[in-house]
């Protein structure tokens, strides 16, 4: 459930923000008021900061691996953040929706990861800070079987593997 919310938040963040990253509104539970909330969002330089303030996924069209303007802007924010935190290393993972066969999707996911990685490199990020992998259709973010879920599941996911502020 949490993953779905994150995914939806990521999508709406993509749609909404052409300019600067805003702190993503945390989905509030309708139940009791929660304990003292953090006043200032995630710790700068942390995995959470990258995920929430920068955006760790970019999304693709069906059977596509070209970067949309939205995807580029997320990757540009990722590059800026990576320049700010030079010890951080990323695993860029390509993912696909379930509307393709397994081996083809492994290859397609590899293309998506490479497209995101190549753009980060073109923005000046050292290639040795970026590894890629493809999970094909094996790691969907959204378990549902509909267009909305598929559009979220076609992504490249930049995962911090080391060097983040804890």
């Amino acid at each position: 459930m949490r993953k779905i919310l994150i995914a939806l938040a990521a999508v709406s963040a993509l749609a909404a923000c052409a300019s600067r990253p805003e702190p993503t509104p945390t989905p509030t539970s309708p139940t009791a008021p929660t304990a003292p909330s953090q006043p200032s969002g995630p710790t700068p330089g942390s995995v959470e900061d990258f995920r929430v303030s920068v955006g760790d996924r970019v999304f693709f069209g069906y059977d596509r691996f070209d970067l949309s303007p939205e995807a580029r802007s997320v990757l540009e924010r990722q590059a800026a953040w990576l320049r700010q935190y030079p010890n951080v290393r990323l695993l860029v993972a390509g993912n696909c929706d379930e509307r393709g066969t397994r081996e083809y999707n492994l290859a397609l996911g590899a293309r998506r990861a490479a497209a995101a990685r190549d753009y980060l490199v073109s923005l000046g990020i050292a290639a040795n800070r970026l590894e890629t992998v493809s999970y094909g259709k094996e790691r969907p973010l959204d378990p549902r079987a509909n267009e909305e879920a598929w559009s979220v599941n076609r992504n490249s996911h930049s995962q911090i593997v080391s060097g983040a502020v804890s």
Partner: protein
């Protein structure tokens, strides 16, 4: 592995018959049309001199009946309808008693304990209208190996009555699935062709995909995330050891053995460009077979080893291509509507099975190696990953309902006789073994 080892200790003897069936009167099922009118066959519970042997006899007969029934070509006659009570294997049956219940063929057999602790299982197949014995074998084996003997006898019956090799003494390796869709656990599992004797080969720690048998049936190649990125692995069923295939700069996947088992053909992806390579298992030398910026994956050899069918999107969408085994002569063979993938060459060489995607549906179909004669056998929300029975007559695949888990299914080359294969968990990526040695 105990089952296989103990089988090597078994021996089979062909019984000599005083009377062979004349060729003209051959009882025969038409393998293409037989599904429309399955041949009624009576399989009597095998006899035995004591309770233990009788129990084995009943079990063997039950497995034979189930195999014949699942083939769709035969209809086992309900034992309660039998008139004659067979009490000795040596005595010819009263054929009229079997004809009157419309059993065209009759299977009798017996189980005999041997002084060394093993058992002898023998059977005879009768043509009730021709009143002749068609075939018979006997096997000596350890008592725990009765199931394999039942499959061997089923193969003998199938062969005698269809004129083609059987496929019952075989196994299936597949991916057992559990857990939520976002955190799926996928483990290698192996079982008999009828779903019996399932056991895991790999743990829940690493997701595995796309297992395939070697021609010897003793090795499996598959893809695993065990070391992080996708890697082709080899699994030895005799030693239960696994190893990574080679040390490559990118991820490796979609492995298959060459027909003589000496090599693997697979996909190596470097920087988002997937290409097909072959590797000799002894020399560990690799040869690049494709060189194109498009996706090239899912290679499968022709049974003579001279050609490879594969999947490529170089023409704009995923389609099937054929090349010579050295990579020369690459040409597209699929031209129908839709997106084609997962090509697998039939063990007979005459057809290529594939997954075709179109109109929001996934279908399993076959075409000739030149791309002609395309036929769709079955279709659903998601049908994927065909694998051939060793006689090239049945295709197993996995089917996933919308938002549902995957299960294994089989369908005949005729497109009839669609059946679900029993598995304890969700299951995908089946691979059918050759006939066991």
């Amino acid at each position: 592995m105990r089952l296989i080892k103990s089988f090597f200790a078994a021996f089979a003897v062909i019984l000599a018959f005083a009377f062979a069936a004349p060729a003209s009167a051959q009882l025969r099922v038409d393998i293409d049309e037989g599904h429309l009118n399955p041949m009624p066959v009576a399989v009597v519970d095998f006899l035995g001199p004591n309770a233990a042997a009788q129990q084995v006899g009943r079990d063997v007969s039950q497995v034979i009946r189930a195999n014949l029934d699942r083939s769709g070509l035969f209809r086992p006659v309900e034992p309660s309808a039998f008139i004659e009570r067979i009490s000795a294997m040596e005595v010819p049956p009263r054929f009229a008693d079997w004809r009157v219940i419309n059993a065209q063929a009759l299977v009798v057999g017996q189980v005999t304990p041997l002084p060394d602790g093993r058992i002898r299982i023998e059977f005879r197949l009768w043509d009730t209208f021709g009143e002749t014995s068609l075939t018979g074998f006997q096997y000596a084996t350890t008592p725990d190996n009765w199931r394999r003997i039942a499959h061997r006898i089923s193969d003998q019956i199938y062969e005698q009555l269809t004129g083609e090799r059987g496929y019952f003494d075989t196994r299936i390796v597949f991916v057992s699935e559990s857990g939520p869709r976002t955190r799926r656990i996928k483990r290698l599992m192996i079982m008999d062709q009828d779903g019996a004797n399932p056991f895991f080969l790999t743990s829940a720690d690493a997701m595995v995909l796309t297992p395939r048998f070697s021609p010897s049936t003793q090795m499996i190649t598959y893809m695993s995330f065990e070391t992080g990125a996708p890697r082709v692995f080899l699994y030895n069923l005799e030693t239960n050891r696994r190893e990574v295939l080679g040390d490559f700069p990118g991820m490796t996947f979609s492995p298959r053995f060459s027909p003589n088992g000496s090599g693997i053909v697979f996909t190596l992806d470097m920087n988002g460009n997937s290409e097909i390579f072959s590797m000799d298992l002894r020399a560990r030398s690799r040869v690049r077979l494709t060189n194109h910026p498009g996706i090239d994956t899912s290679p499968s050899y022709s049974p003579d080893g001279s050609q490879i069918v594969f999947n490529s999107d170089r023409g704009g969408s995923p389609q099937l291509y054929v090349m010579n085994a050295d990579g020369s002569g690459q040409r597209r063979i699929s031209f129908g509507d839709g997106r084609y993938s997962t090509p697998v060459w039939s063990p007979r060489g005459d057809l290529i099975a594939f997954t075709r995607q179109g109109g929001g549906r996934f279908a399993i179909g076959v075409m000739r190696p030149d791309g002609s004669g395309e036929r769709i056998l079955t279709e659903s929300y998601l049908d994927e990953a065909p694998t051939w029975s060793p006689n090239g007559r049945v295709i197993m695949f996995f089917r996933e309902g919308r938002g549902q888990g995957a299960r294994l299914w089989s369908v005949d080359l005729t497109g009839r006789n669609l059946r679900q294969i029993p598995t304890q968990t969700d299951a995908s990526d089946p691979a059918w073994s050759p006939l066991l040695p």
